[in-house]
Symmetry: C2
């Protein structure tokens, strides 16, 4: 080993890589599990291809909206669909702001133009959204509505926070990101065990809003209850994982938050390979 | 998907990622297997961290020796030891030269200074080398010897070719790199199956020189024979893989060549995610 310091963009990439490799993560793509249309290699390809956008964010070269759009456009060149949209929503402000307090300032200062670009980015992913929504990203009229109401990207996140735990991070000072980083630090060393333990702890205590959007509240709370049983040693994680995968129940929002937590923890000296 | 073209550096990174994820690769780190001191995450961290050196090579910003040293120094900041030294020896000329004929010109034009820098890079890895060698990289006198004999890096590879199939690629026009790329193309689509099939075909027909250095000729030929039986369907790959791992028999040089093959095939339109 020598003394080269990793850059913030590389740290974000390491966070993306460590998250997806950790296993077994109930319901999500991990080292041991693919979905037919989205495989481990797709997540890792995005991790590689996101670098230019992450580097721009590290340099402060662009607005939040521009950089989220850049990250999506840089990475959606494979056939695996959306892999990291939620992660970019957290990583871009964290890179621009250097740390959580800085990211809070960045998100508070977002503009209507950021919101418009964000909708453009969203439209280029295949992320599931709630319908019957006047700000539905699949509705071309939504951008007009944004401009009419003069909604900034922060306002959009405030609007979405009720149904989306990633958006909620913007509103509540990156609470779960911070909690995940603290959990990572609480493990003696790094490695897959720490990432898995952190994932399981968040899954045991937060209903994942990506699951809610796909399968409804009841399923999300049921997953939380079962995750708690796994954590407490009374349910087998491998069988629970398989059950989630069979039903296509994937806690994707908690995965996004874990990536942000890993990014923060790595910056605070958490040794991933100790 | 949109039309962004991936860069050559990204293509090299994708090659590194696809190689290590493919499984089960008898004896090597893969999606399903770690060695205690070198894990999948170490290979993927190197894949991320190699980018600046690969980008310099893409731009022609540096000599072969400088860029191999840069790649080693950029990636040996984790605790997983050497992961891709052999791959850099192939990727750097391929990036500088654009294709195999270009790489052949690049390696032919290397200098004594390239050789000196290469030895510096080698010294920063923990790659196994043959002892009783007057050009042993662990011997501080070796660089003096290089200068005295006016050996270019090409001369060093010619000297090493007898015992090292990666060095041999420099001498014989990247023969196995080309063969691996052709094998990849021969599969209907991309994906793990094509990488695995290509790996197994090379392993069935070439004694791996990394195995020879660690375990001797007999073991390498035995591995080749068993790989052939796996290929022909008369030996179980999972058990063979476990046998190799238990004995720490890892065909690391063929893995390096597969990375170069993937790099070439991707550039020729092989669709990794089809």
């Amino acid at each position: 080993m020598n003394g080269r310091k990793i850059t913030c963009a590389e740290r974000a990439q390491l966070a993306m890589m460590l998250e997806v490799c950790a296993f077994p993560k109930p319901g999500n793509v991990d080292r041991c599990h693919d979905y037919p249309e989205t495989r481990l290699e797709h997540f890792l390809a995005s991790t590689i291809l996101a670098r230019p956008a992450l580097e721009r964010a590290e340099k402060g070269d662009g607005s939040v909206g521009e950089l989220i759009l850049d990250a999506v456009e840089s990475t959606n060149i494979h056939s695996g669909g959306n892999t990291h949209f939620g992660a970019y929503i957290l990583l871009i402000p964290l890179l621009l702001g250097r740390d959580i307090p800085g990211a809070c300032r960045i998100v508070a200062e977002t503009t209507v133009e950021d919101a418009v670009l964000f909708y453009e980015a969203f439209g280029k992913t295949r992320v599931r959204v709630l319908t019957n929504d006047e700000l539905d990203v699949n509705d071309p009229g939504a951008v007009e509505e944004l401009r009419k109401r003069q909604m900034t990207l922060y306002d959009v996140m405030l609007y979405s926070a009720r149904n989306d735990m990633v958006a909620r991070e913007w509103i509540n000072g990156f609470t779960l990101t911070r909690r995940g980083a603290d959990l990572l630090h609480s493990y003696g060393g790094g490695g897959c065990g720490a990432v898995m333990g952190t994932f399981l702890e968040l899954l045991s205590t937060e209903p994942d809003t990506f699951i809610i959007k796909k399968h409804g509240q009841d399923v999300a709370w049921e997953v939380m209850k079962k995750a708690r049983e796994v954590r407490d040693g009374v349910r087998d994680i491998v069988r629970f994982d398989q059950e989630c995968i069979d039903k296509r129940i994937n806690p994707g929002s908690i995965a996004d938050i874990i990536i942000a937590s890993l990014y923060i923890a790595l910056g605070e000296g958490w040794a991933w390979d100790s």
